[in-house]
């Protein structure tokens, strides 16, 4: 049976590479006693396909994989058994048998939502553990004024029609217009804590037809604003979607 599974990659697992994650999942299926189907051939590998690779350091609450099991097992039971044996930081959240869909998750998913925390400080320098970290914007006094500045920048970003970024490819550097791939963008000041943080939420294009990275959107904001943005971002993926006819579907809904 083919199952589509939604899982989260949390704080404790954020440094797993895509390869580490694939291995961790395969091992969890074995520990749960869930019989994986394997490919034929010289070096058989389990028939698990992942929707999208998540970069090292990025967390997510809604990643997806399709897995072929050799036995019919109720989806709820699969979830329960997996959650008992998954390592710290990985958790399965939902599962449905794939009945309608014929294409792979990777081919269908075309939209991703992210929450990004950007510290307002130089960030490039080395900050010592015992002294303050050189924040350019320590906790702000004029919260309303700051929020106004942020609003202005967001509307400036959305008002542009094109924004070129450079990407490295095998053939060298190439320019890509990311603006059409930015579908939604909001920003606000996150209060409390030792430093001021710009909290962004965005919906961007993902998949084979075009990809916008959250880091590129932050770069664009930095370029169009007076802010000195730090470069140690905390990126959290809120979800992956299949967007058709103006509606965002969760992969579980369309399986």
């Amino acid at each position: 049976m083919l199952l589509c599974i939604q899982y989260s990659k949390e704080e404790e697992a954020r440094f797993l590479s895509h390869l580490d994650l694939m291995t961790a999942m395969e091992r969890a299926f074995r520990r749960a006693g869930l019989p994986l189907a394997f490919s034929e051939g010289f070096n058989p590998h389990p028939r698990v396909s992942f929707a999208s690779a998540l970069a090292v350091g990025v967390t997510s609450e809604a990643e997806y994989l399709d897995v072929q099991l050799l036995e019919e097992i109720p989806a709820d039971e699969v979830l329960q058994r997996l959650n008992k044996v998954l390592p710290c930081g990985l958790c399965v959240r939902g599962a449905v048998p794939v009945t309608k869909r014929t294409e792979s998750l990777m081919a269908l998913i075309n939209l991703a939502r992210y929450r990004v925390e950007v510290p307002f400080h130089s960030g490039d320098g080395v900050s010592s553990a015992s002294t303050s970290d050189g924040a350019l914007y320590p906790p702000v006094e004029d919260v309303a004024g700051m929020q106004e500045k942020i609003n202005k920048v967001i509307s400036d970003v959305l008002a542009t029609t094109t924004y070129l970024v450079q990407r490295k490819s095998k053939k060298g550097l190439r320019e890509v217009d990311i603006r059409p791939g930015i579908r939604e963008l909001t920003g606000r000041l996150k209060e409390g804590g030792a430093e001021s943080i710009l909290l962004l939420e965005m919906a961007v294009q993902i998949g084979s037809d075009g990809n916008v990275k959250p880091e590129e959107v932050v770069g664009m904001i930095g370029a169009l604003s007076p802010f000195h943005l730090g470069n140690n971002l905390r990126i959290h993926r809120l979800g992956l979607y299949i967007e058709t006819n103006g509606h965002d579907w969760s992969p579980l809904e369309l399986s």
């Binding site: 580490d20 091992r27 969890a28 390592p87 710290c88 900050s127 553990a129």
Partner: protein
């Protein structure tokens, strides 16, 4: 103001290579509440995470200690150079993986000594942990620093840095030690009086407290060890597990997130090897041979697979094809696991066609390369080292390997063995050529379109303590390099790939294997000048090591390249492996007479002393099978 842990997770880990090395939240890692245990210990592995996590000994000791409710054990590995730089610039102390506790806050830290060239990492880890390097400079408030493992059988070069060493098999003794430490602290409000505690520990068999002994020298030569503390035994004898079935084995080992060097579950089929190769230290230190029963191994494999989810199971030991029940064991394990796509691997193969058949059996799921170790190029030299392998064995192996569909074969040799001449090097080239030729014939015969290739991997002989060759000189660096170049000119076929190990590294390995306490100062100097990860060629700084030797005024060639008189005292004479010196001397004599000694499992007892002196015995699980394994081609 950020706390260091926050700086670490927010700023440091995202920018270093492989941050998972430093996290410690892998599946089956044990995290205990600090308040609920009586003794906090730390297993320190002086190499990078991926190497340390491949080590079965770590999983055994970690599992055993953490199964005891009153003790805890966490882990720390040598931080890779990029992470070390971050720790130093930001002033973050080296911390344990499980609870991110600075290592100086543990009650006891145990290093494992697998390899001499990891010593610089030990110093570096102590320093990063803000722990004074020298044992005598550490007060009662510091953790007790101990070590075990093969290099503990001559720990003199690092004696100044450790409070005590443990000789022999750790699972046999660790709980006794922890009981003493916990009770000692229990009586003193959680504090220790180091000197008193060390006296209590020194009463335990296997414990060596170096500060209770004074090394004597005369005219620059080591002349013996003097006991300066009445509690200390004049000779420390190793600890041995008697029955492997009764010994602890970890069935819930930590499953790393990162791909480690040996990324698989391990069952330990047997311990020890009595083949008696005269250069081999492990063959002496792990005597006698003790096998685990087949039924238990199958049961352990089953539980390991359920508890880890690994897709490969390794049947480890020094020589798995010598296991008396190896065929029925493999048959049963393969039948059980092949259907679940779990492969089986054998880490070491003896040079005979029986082993090739085993390899063929186990590679039903995944096929990997095969490696064999004839060690020397001529029959004469193989007899000198007691490697009971003939050219005929090797060619039969080649035939079997190529006939079974492999096209690559790797051969290990050692350069610079005692009595070696250039004729023996010619022998390496000729043997490799014959193996390749046999491969060509077989592949042609079987109609294969592929052409065979042979890899010749050559390391340099390092004389090791407690072996029949412990008195030998290592060839000078220049000679070793000349031999490496000579061999290169002798290997002409393009289908033979020739690799050799850095001779400089083998030279220093010999110095630290055979050296005495005076080397401690050299280590400090080398470490101060930036030496670490010496076993990694990209970090090995030979010139810096030479500067350190010059600074201290020690000539390393005098340790590595000059033979020791057999009647001279050795820096490790007070440390007993259970194998008697007179046996080692007999074996040395036989080496010079080009005479071999049989394996005591199949022929008569060679009276090495282990069973007689340590009250242990050879423990085989099937007498009939052991005879079947003795091949007529072997003498």
């Amino acid at each position: 103001m950020k706390e260091w842990k926050q700086v670490l997770t927010e700023e440091v880990l995202p920018k270093v290579s492989k941050p998972l090395r430093y996290l410690g939240n892998e599946y089956n890692a044990v995290k205990k509440d600090r308040e609920t245990v009586k003794l906090h210990s730390l297993f320190a592995f002086p190499d990078v995470y991926e190497v340390g996590m491949s080590h079965l000994g770590l999983q055994i000791i970690y599992g055993l200690v953490n199964e005891q409710p009153e003790y805890s054990m966490e882990r720390v590995f040598a931080p890779w150079v990029d992470f070390e730089a971050e720790l130093r610039t930001r002033g973050i102390p080296l911390f344990s993986l499980e609870s991110m506790t600075p290592i100086a806050e543990f009650d006891c830290i145990g290093f494992t000594l697998q390899y001499e060239m990891s010593y610089s990492n030990i110093l570096n880890m102590l320093d990063l942990g803000r722990i004074p390097l020298l044992a005598r400079e550490r007060g009662d408030e510091y953790p007790l620093i101990m070590a075990g493992g093969p290099c503990a059988f001559n720990p003199e070069p690092i004696a100044d840095f450790f409070d005590f060493f443990v000789l022999g098999e750790g699972e046999e003794v660790i709980l006794e030690l922890f009981k003493i430490m916990a009770e000692h602290r229990g009586r003193r409000n959680g504090k220790q009086e180091k000197r008193t505690l060390l006296k209590e520990l020194a009463r335990i068999q296997g414990v060596y407290v170096p500060s209770f002994y004074e090394a004597k020298y005369s005219q620059g030569k080591f002349t013996g060890m003097k006991v300066i503390e009445p509690e200390a035994a004049p000779r420390v004898v190793k600890r041995v597990v008697r029955d492997l079935d009764a010994a602890y084995f970890p069935l819930k080992p930590i499953v790393p997130y990162l791909e480690v060097v040996h990324d698989r579950m391990m069952v330990e089929v047997l311990r020890g090897c009595t083949r008696g190769c005269r250069f081999c230290q492990a063959g002496v230190l792990y005597r006698p041979v003790r096998e685990r029963s087949k039924e238990l191994l199958v049961e352990q494999a089953e539980q390991l697979s359920q508890n880890t989810g690994h897709n490969e199971i390794s049947m480890t030991s020094l020589s798995t094809s010598d296991y008396t029940c190896v065929e029925p064991l493999l048959k049963e394990v393969l039948n059980r696991f092949a259907g679940r796509n779990i492969g089986v691997s054998l880490p070491s193969l003896r040079v005979d066609s029986f082993s090739v058949n085993l390899a063929k059996e186990v590679q039903r799921v995944r096929k990997t390369g095969l490696t064999f170790a004839p060690e020397a190029g001529t029959q004469r030299l193989r007899d000198v080292i007691n490697k009971n392998v003939t050219e005929e064995n090797m060619l039969q192996v080649a035939e079997a390997v190529f006939r079974e569909g492999w096209t690559q074969l790797k051969l290990y040799f050692m350069l610079g063995l005692p009595t070696e001449t250039f004729a023996d090097l010619d022998g390496i080239a000729e043997l490799a050529a014959k193996v390749l030729q046999r491969g060509r014939e077989i592949l042609r015969e079987t109609g294969s379109k592929k052409s065979p290739s042979v890899t010749v991997s050559v390391s340099s002989f390092v004389p090791k303590p407690h072996t029949p060759f412990q008195w030998e000189a290592q060839d000078s660096l220049e000679t070793l390099q000349e031999k490496q170049r000579y061999l290169r000119t002798k290997i002409k076929d393009k289908r033979i790939v020739y690799h050799y190990h850095e001779a400089e590294l083998s030279f220093l390995e010999a110095v630290f294997a055979k050296g005495d306490r005076r080397l401690g100062r050299v280590l400090i100097e080398a470490w101060r000048r930036g030496c670490r990860f010496d076993g990694w060629s990209e970090h090995f700084r030979y010139e810096t090591w030479l500067e350190a030797f010059r600074e201290v005024g020690i000539v390393p060639e005098q340790i590595a390249n000059i033979p020791i008189d057999t009647d001279s005292p050795l820096p490790w004479d007070h440390l007993e492996s259970g194998v008697q010196k007179k046996y080692l001397l007999r074996e040395r004599e036989k080496a010079y007479q080009v005479a071999t000694t049989g394996d005591c499992r199949f022929t008569s007892c060679a009276v090495c002393g282990i069973c007689q002196d340590l009250d242990v015995a050879l423990h085989l699980r099937s007498a009939s099978n052991s005879k079947a394994i003795l091949h007529p081609t072997e003498r």
